[in-house]
């Protein structure tokens, strides 16, 4: 069963706009990660946030985590056409700090 669920399933914006994607999960986590997948390629790790952290930044990426609501959001600021990809959240749960459960992803399209 899917642990994480991204919302929305698809998002289309103009270059320069910000993109926000959300992830909800069901059980307590050790950490939550976001990955990007360009069409026809493998996944690439973007950022990890631990369960005791609330916010993290990396370049144009900002991730928040609300463990009380079991949700996370990924914000991409000043989006570029090259940001067009699918974005997945993944959670490490239980006694495993390495086995990840992925959501179904958000397809982001950034129009030039």
């Amino acid at each position: 069963s899917q642990q994480g669920e991204e919302d929305p399933q698809a998002l289309s914006i103009q270059e320069g706009e910000n993109a926000t994607m959300n992830c909800s999960y069901k059980t307590s986590i050790n950490n939550l990660q976001w990955y990007r997948q360009n069409s026809g390629r493998g996944l690439v790790h973007l950022i990890l946030i631990r369960s005791n952290e609330r916010e993290k930044h990396s370049g144009r990426l900002r991730v928040t985590l609300d463990t009380s609501k079991k949700s996370s959001s990924l914000l991409i600021t000043a989006s570029r056409a090259a940001d067009t990809a699918s974005y997945f959240c993944a959670t490490a749960v239980g006694g495993s700090n390495y086995k990840l459960t992925f959501g179904k992803g958000t397809l982001l399209t950034v129009n030039p």
Partner: protein, 114 residues
């Protein structure tokens, strides 16, 4: 470094045929994983390995077998392929003690079972 590589990139099988997908990593990673990705389903873990000579079942292991005879290689076998195994297969790896736990993915193998 090549990172994580997968062989082959594409394959078409007939129902009942067998095949082996090869994953290789040159990063000295302890942990390796096989996932399948189907439209609208995200990635699902098939099998994984926490070190050379060890394997364990993931979320969807039925119909697949794996072996980790060498640390750098993780093989995924389909003994008798079924149309339901049509999917894109991804291999991933990571370190045992990394504080960040990120997984490194291969480019994928697109398998079609007719």
């Amino acid at each position: 470094n090549a990172g994580v590589t997968q062989t082959p990139k594409f394959r078409v099988l007939k129902t009942g045929q067998s095949m082996t997908l090869l994953c290789a990593q040159d990063m000295n990673h302890e942990y390796m994983y096989w996932y399948r990705q189907d439209p609208g389903m995200g990635l699902r873990l098939i099998h994984y390995s926490v070190g050379e000579g060890t394997t364990a079942k993931g979320e969807v292991p039925d119909g697949y077998n794996v072996s980790r005879l060498k640390k750098q290689n993780f093989l995924l076998g389909l003994e008798s392929a079924a149309p339901s195994q049509t999917s894109v297969y991804f291999c991933a790896s990571n370190l045992l003690e990394t504080p960040y736990n990120e997984q490194f993915f291969g480019p994928g193998t697109r398998l079609t079972v007719l």
